[in-house]
């Protein structure tokens, strides 16, 4: 009886098994790359805004406190986006004719709000609260990155749940003294010193860093 399969079948069957495994692996890798890519996470991408507002200039060079504009960051879940009036406190006096600022002046004239594109957005089933994070010593730049150096604002982290949990599992890695929360130029002590400081602050501030579901999802 002749062989049903040609000898090359051995190779083909082996190749297809290995190939399938490799292919699956590649596919997984590709999907992973896609999910972690800025295209998907919007991380490190600037977006078109009605006015090219520069945090580098305002928060960095001029040193305006975060809370001058984000007024409700200490008392509400939402940090707050400044009303046009806040922009005009200064810009009715300086750069009054700058073309770049025309949308701001138009808004103030007409009463039509500026419509900004959200940079740091969470899914609707996540309930994040700024006030508690600020109160527990999580600095602005811990999540929002080097904001004082952003000419145009971009998302500094992936804002994935794993990204949240990284800190919620080990808050001592990131926590800073409350006095430094709004310091846009704060540099954490290196390595073990941060962990030491962090552990002390976690105790002092009673940081619970909850990891149960209803802390954020409800």
């Amino acid at each position: 009886m002749p062989q049903i399969f040609h000898r090359s079948s051995n190779f083909l069957s082996r190749a297809s098994i290995i190939g399938a495994v490799v292919l699956l692996g590649l596919l997984t890798l590709a999907l992973w790359e896609i999910t972690m890519s800025p295209w998907y996470t919007n991380q490190n991408l600037t977006v078109q805004q009605p006015v090219p507002f520069s945090h580098r200039h305002h928060a960095g060079e001029l040193g305006i406190d975060c809370r001058y504009c984000h007024t409700s960051v200490e008392k509400s879940s939402f940090a707050g986006l400044p009303p046009t009036q806040t922009c005009m406190t200064c810009h009715s006096q300086i750069w009054t004719n700058a073309e770049m600022l025309e949308p701001v002046r138009a808004s103030y004239r007409t009463g039509q709000s500026l419509s900004w594109t959200r940079v740091n957005a969470l899914p609707d089933f996540v309930y994040f609260d700024h006030s508690i994070h600020v109160a527990k010593g999580v600095g602005c730049t811990t999540c929002h990155g080097p904001i004082a150096d952003m000419a145009l604002t971009y998302r500094a982290g992936t804002l994935y749940m794993s990204w949240c949990l990284d800190c919620h599992r080990q808050p001592e890695k990131y926590i800073r003294p409350r006095s430094e929360v709004f310091n846009a130029f704060y540099t954490p002590p290196s390595g073990n010193q941060q962990l030491e400081l962090g552990r002390q602050l976690v105790k002092e501030y009673k940081v619970a860093a909850p990891q149960y579901c209803s802390a954020c999802h409800r």
Binding site: S72, S76, S77, L81, Q85, S113, W116, R118, C213, H217
Partner: protein, 1014 residues
Amino acid sequence: MSEEITSRNSIDIEAIRLKLERDGGKRMWRGLQELSDTPQFRDAAEHEFPEGADSNSGINRRDVMKLMAASAAMAGLSACTKLPTEKIVPYVRPPEEIVPGRPLFYATSMHQAGVAVGLLMESHMGRPTKVEGNPEHPGSQGGTDVFAQGSILNLYDPDRLRSVVFESTMSDRSTFASSMGNARVNFETKSAGLRILTGTVTSPTLGAQLKKLLAKYPEAKWHQYEPSGGDSVREGTRMAFGKPMNPVYNFEQADVIVSLDADFLTTGAGHTRYARDFARRRDLAEGPGSKLNRLYVVEPMPTSTGSVADHRWALRASDVEGFARQLGAAVGVSVPAGAGTSAVPADAIDAMGRDLTAHRGSSIVIAGEYQPPFVHALAHAMNAALGNTGKTVTYTESIEAEPVNQMDSLRDLVNDLNAGKVSFLVILGVNPVYTAPADLNFASAIMKAQTRIYSGQLSDETGQICNWQAPAAHYLESWTDGRAYDGTVSITQPLIAPLYEGHSAHEILSLLMDDVPQSAHDLVHTYWESQGPEKGRAYEAFWETSLHDGIMSGTALPAASATLRSDFVQQAPSAQTAPSGLEITFRPDPTIGDGEYSNNGWLQETPKTVTRLTWDNAVMISPATAHQLGLADGDYVTLQLNGREAKGGVMLVPGHADNTVTVHLGYGRSHGGKVAAGAGFNANLLRSSTTPWIATGLQIKKTGDTYTFATVQHQYAIDPDTQGGGQDFASETAFRRDLVQIGTLDDFKKNPEFAQNESNQVEYHGPSLYPNFKYDGYAWGMSIDLNRCIGCNACVTACVSENNIAVVGKDQVIRARSMHWIRIDTYFRGGLDNPETYFEPLPCMQCENAPCEYVCPVGATTHSPEGLNDMTYNRCVGTRYCSNNCPYKVRRFNFYLFSDYTTPSLYGVRNPNVTVRSRGVMEKCTYCVQRINAAKIRSEVENNRLIADGEIVTACQQACPTEAIVFGDINNPNSRVAKLKAQTRNYGLLTDLNTRPRTTYLARVRNPNPEIRA
């Protein structure tokens, strides 16, 4: 499908009666279907969802799998969609006080049949989202009812009238204003023919405006017709005291209460406050020494009040007068006896009389709104004879701006319309074409007026046939004032600018008489400045305080002297022998009222107290009378009354009086909006203006068809004995465990721990494979006092509002897919004719050993360190294992996309702090975790202080008019909830399953009169 569901005809009333008798009246039961063990009940009991609930009829499972294969493959990718781009739109100039992300609360008030009810509104960035009771308002003291809770949905109703409409074409505000201005110029020379029709007006400002209008246009007339007000209270005081007065009851001081067909806990002026006061006297915090009140009720149709009574008799509405005469004679009111009422034995009446006389000055006799005036007068006479007047019952001047007999007022209007005397009719906020009794034939009469102006929320039956339709402002969009049940002036302030060109009644009247029309705000503001001593700045301070508090302090009407007319008995209709023939009683619906809330999905889907019917009204009849007439549950019948006709489905109601039928108003709307369309039948078609509430001579004819009701009574039944029950249950108990613990005050005194037994003790710690949780911080728990619960459903509606719970519709309710997170389980005990009724509100038990948690394959339901059974929607894949494993049946599954994602106006009503659930996920009570988290964050931001007891209130607790629900930290022994749980009445449900529920109950303790044999 529907044939399976309605296997009504297998109910054999006589067999049930025999079974119940054999059992000696101690058996708890849920309804007729259970007692006769119909296939429908079996199905509901054995499966959580009825057979076929999880399939689409006509498609089998394989087909679904085939069809779904492709979409299932794609569904895996749905998690990979990129987040949509969102916009942030900040203010240009920020309003004061608004902190984005934090709600603000404003005091305001709504009018229920004209009477102001104080509310506290939650507002998110200018968008009202939730109604609460105003703790500072005497009419609510923080409690609410279903109507208040549901009223916010009326604001966002997508069917609202959206612009001024003239002769069926779209018009606008200014055209309407100028047209009214032209009319005004004409009235100044000739005002004959101008008529205004309103509901009951307690608003002093509106009253003053109307009086000013009548003074300016002497030939104009003002008519009032409030469809569910009932003239009897007013006319009863007129009969007793010679002038209309306003009775105010103090139930907190009352030891003995007799209700003559009065459902004072859920209807009528002041009911929310009355429920609270009543419940305070059902409290057993002081153990066996507590002073409980005692409530006697006679009524035709079981209500909340009748269900919590210590003694209740089912009496035809027309027999209540005879009973009142007998009781009057027993307490010393000289009144000739009427026709005897056999339903209440004479010795019971004597015993009640003795009980009342033993509590002179601390008892109350109260007559129902829909009883004739003479019964009210008798009740007033009894209160006077018992020395209650001035103590538990006080009388004030009427709270109405112009108290008139409204049925007469409406009849006058119809007569004038028919005589052609009316040329210009203005209808403000009422819908007489639908609500007026049929004999007045309002729809044809109104056409005789040349100009018909209608202002209402919907383009309803009346609006449809008016020349001008001006959208009425919702109470959350307008300024007005009103008087509460005790006369306290309550300000209504708007929370939002009118969504659709809404006019308030003040503004329309102003257009008709003022040269320069004024805004509602200015009218109310200046009216009160003219009334008080404060002017200028001092007045502004007073005004601000009044707005802040929601009430003008010290404006409750003082008690007026009320001397009983000696001749009131002579005014009584001569005592007649009980009318023969079948009687029919009309009542406003318990959840949608007289039709004001017909188009409200929340309220349509709220199961009505006792019957637990949704989306329908029914021809409600006692099982005995139905048997006599050859009617079965679900028969579709024709009702004939004096030549008028209506068709509806028959519903057998245990505890209903014999030889009478009750129907609820508010259904059968022809132009009531999309939600109301097709629900129930219009009972107004049977009514006559001479006998609007009680009529005799009813004929019932079977049509041969059947009607399917969406009742939830047999759905989600806990722990029925489906193994051996049904066939011969006389020897068995219906439920393996005692779900409702009941004792009398005597039982309680003898054994304060009567509620404890092996099957329900909370401390049961059986062996468990799982380690116990440790709770170092807070441990949330809830206690529900069954002795306080009146089954009013305020908690159910509040939960819907707070937690964005979807409305599913009648068809889905029939399939046991209603989404309520808390339900009022209703149980009966005793015979069919007059069973005792027990309510048991059932939210999630938040078990320590939660059966749901162990079976979730994806970790979507987990245990929080504070003891909550968290439900994470974004993890849920919809296996429904958790629901299957829940012994309490509190989990709800989104079989379809029940949440409305597409109607923009409904976005507004949603609570921004709770996820709007999508299709395919499980959901359940969370103990309002959004409120818990908000309080926790607040406390930790404020220097890591502890959360105070009472700082977190759940939505159900906050809404509860009787304070039956208490939530708090059970780790804190001083918290209210911990103290309640320490009471001997405390027990848990199904604790022998070792679930260790966090929600526990306080047993019901009845206080029957030992002299009366039940």
